[in-house]
Symmetry: C2
Subunit: 147 residues, 2 copies
């Protein structure tokens, strides 16, 4: 785990909040180099699939000109939902680092726990609960402000 | 279920096969009008998320200028994987029609059975096994030809 990369994901989350998006950010990294960074953009892009993780996977695949992100790690501020968890598996991400756990919508440690399913063909190493209080506070402040 | 729309999804699947992609096709429909059609494009686009379902959800959201595809139905030739199943839920698709069941990689009737999870916030009505033998034959021929 590299603190600079989880910090970069949090920067993206704060940028997403400032655009009125649910504040979640992600980065993809290989060999100590940041390949892609993005924040949630569902409302701005009017794209139901534009979660931060999906955007960085697609960006990184473009950078590497390969749909398989071999040797790449993904950092994200919140536990991925099942869509993103499966995309991370399809992209062959090596390690997944995430911030707050998401009991309501997460798909890694909660709900379907996708990487434990026998139908999962590639599971990244998973490290959850990083900077958990910061990640949770960011989301809490955002939803409080919108009420 | 409208036979013309499942046929349109099969047309997209055959087009995908002719490009060397795993032959899966999908369409999104609202009020009897086809809004979006696409085939799997993972290899061509070098995008691990470019499953047919993801592409049509994104296209349809662009057409409607809305990230929620209210009142829209999705037709696809194979049971969606967990990524696509969750995207279909996030997009608020009304009805999901699919061709062959996919015991190895499906996420609707198999594996995590996403729409039965308590963490699933919107489940479409699901109609599976449409034109099942045609859907299965298409995939079988494709993988046989590549061996």
């Amino acid at each position: 785990m590299d603190k600079a990369f989880i910090a970069a994901a949090f920067d993206e989350a704060r940028r997403a909040a400032s655009r009125g998006e649910v504040p979640i950010g992600a980065v993809v990294v290989r060999d100590g180099t940041l390949l892609a960074a993005a924040g949630n953009d569902v409302v701005g892009a009017k794209d139901p699939t534009a979660h931060a993780e999906m955007l960085v996977l697609r960006q990184a695949a473009k950078v590497l000109n390969n749909e398989r992100l071999l040797g790449c790690d993904l950092y994200v501020t919140l536990e991925p939902c099942p869509m993103c968890a499966q995309a991370i598996s399809l992209a062959r991400i090596r390690r997944l680092y995430f911030g707050a756990y998401d009991p309501k919508g997460g798909g890694v440690e909660h709900g379907p726990a996708l990487y434990t399913q026998p139908t999962c063909h590639h599971a990244p190493e998973v490290y959850g609960g990083l900077h958990e209080s910061e990640a949770a506070a960011l989301l809490k402040d955002f939803f409080k402000a919108r009420r």
